[in-house]
């Protein structure tokens, strides 16, 4: 591929793709000081190495990328080279408008995509929770970038559909690979423990089975079956277990009110919390708190 640079606002090719902020390929044959210092952006940024060796810092962590490696930099994350310049080699990048951190799914971000809003939410969740921003030996990404470029330049029949499909394909591939990379597909107890820790750290989130399944790299049916045989519970009932255990701990402290506990542990409302808690423990949250805080051993 030859070098190119497409930029929103100045390149006509991107006019109908307002979500593509920048798309480029660069052959860097000389070093320019201060040409590549750490920066952050509102876009999700993909950097794909075609040739050479690049040393980068993503969120203050050091990574070395070789050909076929892809770096994924989320909105707001810092990215750049420690030395301040771009290493010699060839790379391709894509900056895409794609809100990741907000848990609400904004329809406007989806307009171009044919991934369902629920699945987009799952992709965002997985990207936001991921802490390994580099996918190694990701050869399948090469053709996606190549096709993206040729669709944008040739503008043949149906190109706008094809461009958006390629973006969807990239997002899907990246998300799937990240979950596979983060979980050995051999050790379910390990993968499940990791999931449990993630759930506990984000307990106020309204987790769906699809999201949990995607995090361990399984489809929802296989995931549900696996969880059922491993834990004895369906995924959502297992989640309720965790929510109630955390709630019990908070109820045994003086300093948090019941409504905050309900929301912190992921219930829609204090009513929902109260009903579920009573169903499982036989006590309403307030009764439970009363008997536990009044008892005294000494």
């Amino acid at each position: 591929m030859n070098q190119f640079l497409l930029r929103q606002g100045s390149s006509d090719e991107l006019q109908i793709f307002s979500h593509i902020v920048e798309f480029a390929l660069k052959r860097n044959s000389s070093i320019h000081l201060n040409s590549f210092t750490a920066s952050s952006s509102d876009c999700i940024r993909f950097y794909y190495v075609l040739d050479g060796k690049f040393e980068w810092f993503i969120q203050q962590e050091h990574y070395i990328l070789y050909p076929s490696d892809l770096a994924i930099i989320l909105p707001g994350q810092t990215f750049g080279s420690e030395k301040g310049y771009l290493d010699i080699g060839t790379l391709c990048w894509l900056h895409l408008e794609f809100e990741v951190t907000s848990s609400k799914i904004k329809a406007e971000h989806n307009k171009w995509s044919s991934i369902s809003p629920a699945e987009t939410g799952t992709i965002k969740k997985i990207l936001a929770l991921n802490n390994m921003p580099v996918i190694s030996r990701f050869r399948e990404a090469g053709p996606v970038f190549q096709n993206l470029r040729s669709e944008l330049y040739s503008q043949q029949l149906g190109y706008s559909t094809r461009v958006n499909q390629l973006l969807d394909e990239l997002l899907i591939m990246v998300t799937r690979l990240l979950t596979k990379q983060n979980n050995s597909q051999r050790d379910f107890p390990q993968a499940f423990l990791k999931l449990e820790n993630t759930l506990r750290r984000n307990l106020s989130h309204q987790w769906t089975v699809e999201e949990m399944a995607a995090l361990v790299g399984l489809g929802s049916t296989a995931f549900t079956e696996k969880v059922k045989s491993f834990t004895g519970f369906s995924p959502l009932n297992y989640l309720i277990n965790i929510r109630i255990s955390e709630a019990i701990k908070l109820l045994k402290r003086h300093d948090v009110n019941v409504t905050s506990i309900a929301l912190e542990t992921g219930f829609y409302s204090s009513q929902h919390f109260s009903t579920t808690f009573k169903k499982l423990t036989g006590y309403t949250p307030s009764q439970f708190r009363k008997i536990n805080l009044s008892s005294n051993l000494l």
């Binding site: 379910f188 820790n197 834990t231 004895g232 277990n241 955390e246 499982l280 005294n296």
Partner: protein, 508 residues
């Protein structure tokens, strides 16, 4: 007849990874069972913790589901609920009874240094003789000592140190108590006087007010709190039995009662146990002696490296038909292993991936393949891995053989009950092996205890005799001879490499 209810007994096992609830009719037939798992957290290497509230809520949830789905609709009347639990757990609670953090499980090794120091002191022999518990970081004695030194604030705030089972039962009934079986595995109770051992308490830095009340396994903590009676649909008067430990109950649940019998358990970890009316006093302090009832001791040795080692092997080297299909992977590995000759043509495996307890009691021990030559193939590695795990099990049996002449073996547990493994156990031990596949041995033991307490059986001996062990495996003499040649080398390597184990541990 329409309204007569059939009586049933519920057993609740608070295990290492899961709670298992079984329902039995009064003849000991299983009516229903359900499990619910909870995770073990390893926030640091050597740490192994569980969330007590999660254990509690999981237990309650599973119990409720079993009762409402399988027991109440069939008009059973629950007459007794009996508890069992894993040994050695410690949960600190404050003066209001609120847990100060997570419970520490048996697998936690944070007290390694404390255990090593105590083992080198003159107190070790005294404590072992009094408490029957080997000096090891698994024991609450060492865990509390560790807390006093390294977690001072929690230690001071702690009004009581409980076992997980004590906590769960207190939540349900309001009483803080611990049965002799679990207490005899704490390293804090004198197994001859059935009292907390003052010297051990002094070493840990506590007095007996900070421990729950000691009671026999047939004791009841009283009634369920009213709210739980309503929630679970259980009548006032449903007997709650404190019960015993998983190890003690698995022994009787496997039908072992005579001095010439031993029971082998291999799940993730494993143990070999015998039963008797006196503790086995091992000068090298390698054997545990836990109490089932007064004058009934369960003695034996535990291993860290059971099925978990074979699972490790399968995860690294097995074939997977789909994601997470470990069962398929293990099954095909065993098929491959059976293609190699007994003894794996001289390839030996030391299974000490997690350090080892009995009989070598060396937390630094490591795994190793030994004797590798150019002719060894994949199937030899698979077979030698399984053989190594079972040589370790045999080395515990051999140690017990110094005190007892064992004629019959009973085996249970997910790994030991794989037919390939059961046959190998028979061959290596050169003894007939009975296998009980049908029911969970711990639950069966809890049933026998409950039924004895209710007067269905005159005593435990009578109860244990009712256990039927249908499957027998007989040893093959020729194979036994082969295994014994290799076992000699296995045994020597296990102790000979102590220095190298320590050196490599320091580097890892």
């Amino acid at each position: 007849m329409m309204n007569t209810k059939t009586n049933c007994i519920i057993t609740i096992e608070l295990g290492t990874n899961a709670v298992r609830v079984h329902a039995f009719d009064l003849d000991g037939n299983t009516i229903a069972s359900m499990k619910g798992s909870y995770p073990t957290f390893h926030s640091q290497p050597d740490y192994s913790e569980q969330d007590p509230e999660q254990v509690f809520i999981t237990m309650l949830y599973v119990l409720k589901n079993l009762l409402t789905e399988k027991i109440h609709p069939k008009k059973y009347k629950v007459v007794c609920i009996c508890f069992s639990a894993s040994m050695h757990s410690v949960l600190a609670i404050d003066k209001k009874g609120v847990p100060l953090g997570n419970a520490i499980t048996w697998a936690d090794n944070r007290g390694k240094k404390e255990a090593q120091e105590l083992n080198r002191s003159a107190l070790a022999k005294k404590f072992y003789q009094a408490t029957g518990t080997p000096i090891h970081p698994m024991s609450p004695l060492i865990k509390i000592k560790w807390m006093k030194a390294h977690s001072k604030e929690t230690f001071i705030q702690t009004s009581k140190f409980l076992s997980i089972k004590t906590y769960i039962i207190q939540q349900l009934t309001g009483e803080y108590m611990i049965d002799y079986s679990l207490a005899s595995a704490t390293g804090l109770m004198n197994i001859h006087t059935m009292k907390w051992e003052s010297d051990a308490l002094a070493y840990a830095g506590i007095n007996s007010d900070r421990l729950p009340a000691l009671v026999p396994v047939f004791s009841s903590p009283g009634q369920l709190k009213k709210e739980y009676q309503t929630l679970l649909g259980l009548a006032y008067g449903t007997k709650i039995l404190i019960g015993s430990s998983d190890g003690c109950l698995a022994t009787i649940g496997s039908g072992v009662w005579n001095k010439d019998e031993a029971v082998i358990t291999i799940e993730d970890s494993g143990a070999v146990r015998v039963i008797g009316n006196k503790p086995l006093k091992d000068a090298k302090r390698r054997i545990f002696n836990y109490i089932l009832t007064e004058n009934c001791f369960i003695s034996g040795g535990p291993t860290n490296n059971g099925g978990v080692v074979f699972e490790w092997f399968a995860k690294q080297f097995g074939d997977f038909s789909g994601p997470f299909d470990l069962e398929f992977s293990m099954e095909s590995l065993i098929n491959e292993a059976s293609k190699a000759e007994a003894g794996s043509d001289g390839l030996l495996f030391l299974p000490y991936l997690l350090g080892e307890r009995a009989p070598i009691w060396n937390p630094n021990a490591k795994g190793m393949y030994f004797g590798l030559n150019i002719k060894h193939e994949r199937q030899h590695f698979i077979r030698s891995t399984i053989e190594g795990i079972l040589y370790e099990i045999y080395s515990i049996g051999k140690l017990l053989g110094e005190y007892r002449s064992i004629k019959n073996l009973s085996v249970h547990g997910s790994f030991a009950s794989l037919p390939f493994c059961t046959q190998l156990i028979a061959d290596i031990y050169n003894k007939p092996v009975s296998l009980r596949k049908t029911a969970d041995s711990v639950a069966s033991g809890a049933f026998l205890l409950s039924a004895t307490e209710m007067g269905i059986y005159g005593n435990l001996a009578e109860a244990v005799k009712t256990v039927v062990l249908p499957d027998q495996y007989f040893p093959k003499k020729q194979q036994h001879a082969v295994y014994m040649k290799y076992f000699k080398i296995f045994e020597r390597l296990s102790t000979k490499l102590a220095d190298e184990f320590e050196d490599i541990s320091n580097l890892q």
